[in-house]
């Protein structure tokens, strides 16, 4: 099948970007979206054009490298998938497809569809860990954790740090990202001792980096490739309030 692609091209961080149109006819439905771009790039290189730069690595939805804004949605049509898991099946012959990088001030464009997400790393530097030195851990079964809490912690811990939540949010808020980590660690007894400091520091860093606030729209939850729930943000607020006030 044939598609018309309108892809954001931007030479580097300082250059002005624009949409460039590509008509591409080597598309088959079972191809992944990124394999379609791979094929287009092969064609561009042979023609002497510069290929479209985009991040991707594991190509199985777990490393969080990829992430494209496709037809106005992070990771395009579909639910609970990253861009590399999107196939061409949802598209029809003759479709026009808009492809953009994540749009958020804290994620500046580096080139074409690649953005700088190091702000996420910085938020985690501020407290997204449990302070335990190598060698000082007790036997793993010395602290029993109710299965229910452990499972809830797991559900929050599966965040892949891709940034789709920020891209989806009209405020460019990183609340779901921060909430997932705060929840994961706050739900486990191992994470409780520094829970107060953690939540305060991470929220402070999030604000400092220029992410917006949450207005409960829920776009982040709807677009999260790992379907991390909005209830995490409620827990984040509770943790934050407790830490600041009580």
């Amino acid at each position: 099948m044939k598609v018309r692609l309108k892809i954001w091209r931007q030479e580097n961080a300082k250059a002005k970007g624009a949409f460039v149109t590509y008509d591409f006819d080597e598309v088959s439905p079972e191809m992944s979206f990124l394999e379609m771009l791979d094929a287009l790039n092969q064609k561009l290189i042979k023609k002497g054009d510069s290929p479209i730069a985009f991040d991707s690595d594991c190509r199985e939805g777990i490393c969080g490298s990829c992430g494209l804004y496709i037809n106005g949605r992070p990771n395009g049509p579909g639910k609970g998938i990253s861009t590399c898991q999107l196939s061409m099946r949802p598209f029809k012959d003759g479709d026009t497809i808009y492809v953009e990088p994540w749009r958020a001030k804290p994620f500046p464009v580096i080139k074409d569809l690649i953005v700088d997400r190091s702000a996420f790393d910085k938020i985690l530097h501020a407290g997204g860990y449990i302070s335990v030195n190598t060698g000082s851990a007790p036997d793993a079964n010395s602290i029993q954790v109710p299965k229910e809490n452990s499972d809830l912690a797991f559900d929050s811990s599966v965040c892949i740090g891709c940034g789709a939540c920020v891209a989806a949010c009209k405020n460019a808020s990183a609340m779901l990202f921060v909430a997932a980590k705060v929840s994961h660690l706050a739900l486990l007894p191992q994470g409780r001792p520094e829970a107060r400091e953690r939540v305060k520091n991470m929220v402070m860093e999030m604000d400092r980096l220029g992410f917006g606030n949450c207005t409960n729209t829920g776009a982040c939850e709807a677009e999260c490739p790992k379907e991390i729930k909005l209830t995490n943000i409620a827990r984040l607020n509770r943790e934050y309030f407790t830490a600041k006030v009580l």
Partner: protein, 639 residues
Amino acid sequence: MAILDAKIPEGSLAEKWTNYKNSVKLVNPANKKKLDIIVVGTGAAGSSAASALGELGYNVKVFCYQDSPRRAHAIASQGGINATKNYQNDGDSVYRLFHDMIKGGDFRAREANVYRAAEVSNQVIDHYTALGVPFARDYGGSLTNRSFGGVQVSRTFYAKGQTGQQCMLAAYSSLNRQISKGTVAMFSRREMLDLVLVDGKARGIITRNLVTGELERHSAHAVVLATGGYGTIYYLSTLAIQSNGTAAWKAHLKGALFANPSFVQIHPTSIPQLNEYQSKLTLMSESLRNDGRIWVPKEKNDKRHPNDIPEEERDYYLERRYPAYGNLVPRDVGSRAAKERCDAGYGVGPTGLAVYMDFRDAIKKQGDKTIEAKYGNLLELYNTITGINPYKEPMQIYPSAHYTMGGLWVDYNLMTTIPGLYAIGEANFADHGANRLGAASLMQCSGDGYFILPFTISDYMADQIKTPRIPVNLKEFDEAEENVRKRLEKLISINGTQTPTSFHKRLGKIMWDYCGMARNEEGLKKAAELVKELKHEFWTDLKVPGNLNELNQEIEKAGRIADFFDLAGLLITDALNRKESCGAHFREESQTPDGEAQRNDDEYLYVAAWEFKGEERPHQLHKEKLKFEEVEVKVRIYK
């Protein structure tokens, strides 16, 4: 080149590591601050090593090619991580895990290293739990386990099908803590393109900043490579598409011996290739074989829908051939059995290169809910990619390149043959012999990084305290940087007609066809010729667009593929040299009458460590004889 000295400590196997730790040289905290260590790679091995070394007080610099250290491919490990806790009271012990690994590796691994890996496995689980890994628990709140291929106890800890993600993120969190403390400096989007030796010692690296294209110099008292495996030499594999062998290969060219390069694990259960555009193969965790039954039709070319094939017309070939282990045979055995059935014409799916993995009976017995709780995300992943619902009909699976047991040769200290250069995790060769057991990779990577390297590196660092910080304006750095620049300029100036990826695909196909699951002398010799021809074509007709001083993903690919051509040559040489079948290395000339691998212990009970002797000159083989003092070397039987 000196004879290989593995530096295995004295004493019985169970005492070696304890004795070693009691006598290893130490560095006092004040001196550690003056010592620099470079860690390349941020997977389960690199992140854990960097954080542990940072905690000790060393000055650590860490490098990864991704935008964030969290993205290293340990993140994709699915099924689990082994430890000898014996929480299930089923008779597990350090010795049993050690024994399973030695046997699983088909008696081609070094006893002392494997025993140590088993010994530290419990500490790894304790540490990850303390870091907040939500391992699966039972209703009483205790940790629970599952079984994996090649073993008869339940020792695998897991977090659904995302154990690697959870361990990786925990290691990343400990790395983040050190970054925030300032003991570790993180350099993302950097690729190591050469190793710098000063007076024969590893003293630094040359990196390319992948955003600006700038070449950078970094110096240190020691360099640790945690750069993973080279499975992408087959193009299609379960690895991340950017995984590569370049860092290890550059170290090899500078004098580090490369051990057992032909030992590549082909994983039995990945989603089969769908079309020629495919960029990778997705793994379906081995843990699925706990409940998934593998079969093909008893009739050749049976085109019926799998659900229409009655029970008596199904051949559960693993259960038939290996009644003791059934569907849980080790990976090499499982892969070969699938290939055997498909080659004989019993394969299924559109290409005939697939077998069924069926959850029908498990669902009947345990219910949808239980199966979903155990494997939910994996079954969903399968559904997303193929459009087939595995709750309703069997999955189609086929083997694919997955893990490289071969790697840089290291001694008991995890040091390569270059003083001050260490290799940990998948990048070294030490623990898995000719075949790795499931859930033993996260275990080894994390053990190396958290609990082994921090001790063994101190033995070397103790002698470095009088060496001041290494300046980067030495002529050795000038030369290395100049060589890197020249190579990049050469690649970009060929200006031919073919893309890097097109060469990679062709190289991968040669390797898969002649140096994959089954190998023979004629095929290997042919492959050597084909690789040589293709390499020549590459260096005369490659087309790399753009410039060197910008973000240029094609020059990155070109450099990695250029190194793969040379590594492919060595891989084939090693496969040709080893005229026996062992583990994943199956030489068709060397098999039993019923098609099982036939080892030749009289001639090949050694690690093949290859020394680079210069361009266009053959590699020199060094043999590290393997001595088995605690385990009886016998035929590996899973029947």
